[in-house]
Subunit: 192 residues, 2 copies
DNA sequence: TAACTAGGGCAGGATTGTTGACTGATCTAG
DNA sequence: CTAGATCAGTCAACAATCCTGCCCTAGTTA
């Protein structure tokens, strides 16, 4: 019943591409099989508990995580067009339409016609939507602040770099754009 | 229903608990509102694209992410009882039963009766299950290896610390146990 | 023997996601 | 100005995944 090849491989800590990079050497141990397995665990548990933090509030309102995701990205990108939001969430028009309909009906999201292109419905959070998004965010922020503070600024920078590396190129580009906008709006803490 | 306070707060980059920790000072900027928002983005995109990496293979087999999660944790905990697996995944018996049934029927997972407690069904991966899990893992490993290598060992350590801080205490305890077991099985690279 | 526990199973429903096709409004290029 | 492309909303039908309750069997434990 046991597969010798599979079982052996699971215990074999061979580092991929042993010494291609120069200043690496033995420290490439962090690329071992077991480390990659552990990273799977980290992503699963962190994401599970992070998203879970807001679920209590969502349940009270009869909403789900999809609503939260929409609120989050509309809040971070006021005036975003429906198509662009679809691209961020990577879901279909139908899936978004369902949550968007309830969010608009319940007064959390407002739609305004685009000026340049009047076909577009630009999405923004109403004051109620901002308040709700903030309530949801606060729950998650507690966890983040605790984790960030405990780990320290340097660890946070490492976290940021690894997370960016895991995601798609398109997602990285989006983050860069968002960051640039944030710096522009508040140009005291930024670089340059 | 509209909350003007929420709107104002959304623009206010106040650092929480300004100078409670000693060696912090201005570097506590990384706890600002915007940094927390950015962390939400990081978690969303990294998790989205990481899980997505294995979806192609899963689709071919008519399986979903729930199957992958079960395979992953059974593979990492051979002989795990159904109840313990439920505790890890944090889903209901029914949800697990569905995926477990298909995994057993298709020969990816084997059930053996517990010796100490014969009510238990201890779960292990069959050779086919190990092979499938490995195929799925390889896709995700590509991303992880690239991200880890690009970020460097120090960044990886920071990533690990932050991710641990985000998750529940119970999840951290599980990771510690798993790590200890791995060290025991291969006591050359470990500490102590 | 009685009470508890591990696991399986069923009924019924909610959420979130999919594909595909169609409509309407608007923009753009020839 | 017309033809085609694009943005968005909508419908139907379906599938994956999750949920709450409830009941059952087998085995453990007091």
């Amino acid at each position: 019943m046991p597969d010798p090849k599979g079982a052996a491989a699971a215990l074999d800590p061979r580092p991929p591409e042993p010494k291609s990079h120069a200043a690496a050497g033995a420290s490439l141990l962090f690329l071992r099989e077991e480390e990659m397995r552990a990273a799977q665990d980290l992503l699963f548990f962190a994401y599970r508990d992070f998203t879970n933090a807001a679920d209590v509030i969502l349940d009270e309102l009869g909403m789900g995580r999809a609503h939260h995701r929409a609120l989050h990205f509309i809040g971070r990108n006021p005036g975003i067009a429906v198509g662009d939001l679809l691209g961020l969430l990577r879901i279909t028009k139908q899936s978004l339409a369902r949550v968007l309909t309830t969010l608009v009906e319940q007064g959390y999201v407002a739609q305004t016609q685009g000026r340049a292109d009047r076909r577009q419905r630009l999405l923004t959070l109403t004051p109620a939507g901002q308040a709700l998004e903030r309530r949801l965010f606060e729950r998650q922020r507690e966890r983040l602040v605790a984790a960030y503070r405990e780990a320290g600024a340097q660890a946070v920078e490492g976290f940021r770099r690894v997370m960016r590396g895991i995601m798609d190129e398109a997602a990285r580009a989006y983050l860069d754009r968002t960051e640039a906008v944030a710096r522009e709006a508040r140009p005291r803490a930024g670089s340059r």
